[in-house]
Amino acid sequence: MAGPVRNKPRIFYGWYMVATFMFIALATTGARNAFGVFVIPMEEEFDWNRTTVTAAGFIGAVVAGVIQPFLGRIFDATGGRKIILVGLISIGVTLILLSLTFHIIFLILMFGVFASVAAGGVSINNTSAMLARWFRRRRATVMGLNAAGASLGGMVIVPFAMFLMQATNWRLTWVALGVLILVLALPLAFIFIRESPAQMGLQPDGDDEPSDGASPGESQRGPGPLEASKWTQPFRSWPFWQVSLAYMVCGSTTFMLSVHFVPYAVDRGVSPGLAATIFGVMLGLNVFGSLGAGLLADRFGRKNLLALVYVLRGSGYMILILPGIFGLTLLSGNLGLWLFALVMGFSWWATLPLTSSLTADVYGTQTLGTISGISFAFHQIGAAISVLFAAVLYDLTGSYTVPFLIVGILLFPAAFSAFSVKERKYSSRYVSAPAVPAASGD
């Protein structure tokens, strides 16, 4: 009698992982981005000043950067599922506890420290590292989808929190955000997250197992020459530094913008409402930028596209700054701001799937959580330095022209750094597939 025949799944299980991670990114990133919604009502209730309240957000950004390499290490050591589940429980509980806020120290500890550490466990770095095990051919595409989920989080959860707060109060809104994670994201993660396709008897990308003697497909290709089994190994190779230093410039250019763009636009004579609209359009375009970058990178490779994104972003900064310096009236008005928003919007999150997939291709997936975490720490260091730097220069010069010009110029060496990565030499995408020996003795 013939045994049961197991057919190939109609839909590769990895796609359920992608959908789950998109929702997790949407919920967790959105909930953290919604912090700004709570600033004004909490200020009013507790009679805090703006500087005091924003300290929690600032500390949160610093903690998120510092903690990521350590959480990445735990992710690599444990396989990932546990840290994601614990992270979701922690962030959900922390958000609910924020509804009990009674003192600024409580807010700083809960949001600035606990929520940031918990969010680090479910960060895009970690979820992308897990997706890298599930996908090789479509690695950048799925990482782009993951990033798009985070980008959508800001667009969906922040307005949701705004209107919920209008209808109720800030305490209930914190509870709702916590419940959203505990009741929706956590069960989804519990049901769908599997650490690797091998756990389910599958191959990356849902490919068939290579039959005896046949040439394996791309998903069965061997490791690249720099495949890392220890997290310290990448420090001794060029691609890590080329990618991470470029990523540092990336962090400086995006954070400086998110913090200083609206005040800058207002300084240029734009109404606050229009500045907000331009900024909103920029955030909306992020989704398309990350999706497009992922799709294109799987087709044309990572490093050239990454370099192109940095060049585009640098050009955007030049469009923003140079017309004012050289007196080009057409571009120094609103048109320049809109052009900048267009270029910046598409390039904002595009670097994430490109950087993550390139790192995964070069160093493999064994220590990817740690390596990506360290790269992310570079990103956050760049972010912190640039925000401080812009604030100091603004106070010294009375305008944002000089700091924006400097970070804009830095994007071109960053592009060169990305472009000079020897992707064809080091990436597993270009490694010849090892031949599978034919079964003998039959």
């Binding site: 953290r32 700004g36 924003t54 300290a55 907000a276 604030a391 100091v392």
Partner: protein, 78 residues
Amino acid sequence: MPWPTMLSVLKHHGEAANPELLVWIKQLLDHVMGSSGWVIVAAVGLALVAFPIGLVLFYLSQLRRERADTYQASSDGQ
């Protein structure tokens, strides 16, 4: 880092999302949508609930089909 510089940074809106910006965005949404807060909360909330439930239901339906396919294939093989 001198403390006055830190404070200067915080005055430059160091939080996750600029609160004034969010107020402007909300005014913009109010203007565009013209709905009450609860309608928007309900619509977004429904979409947020629908996604995970829809994903689980879709997965279960696929699982059922695969099992049916497997059963069919093993019956054909007999």
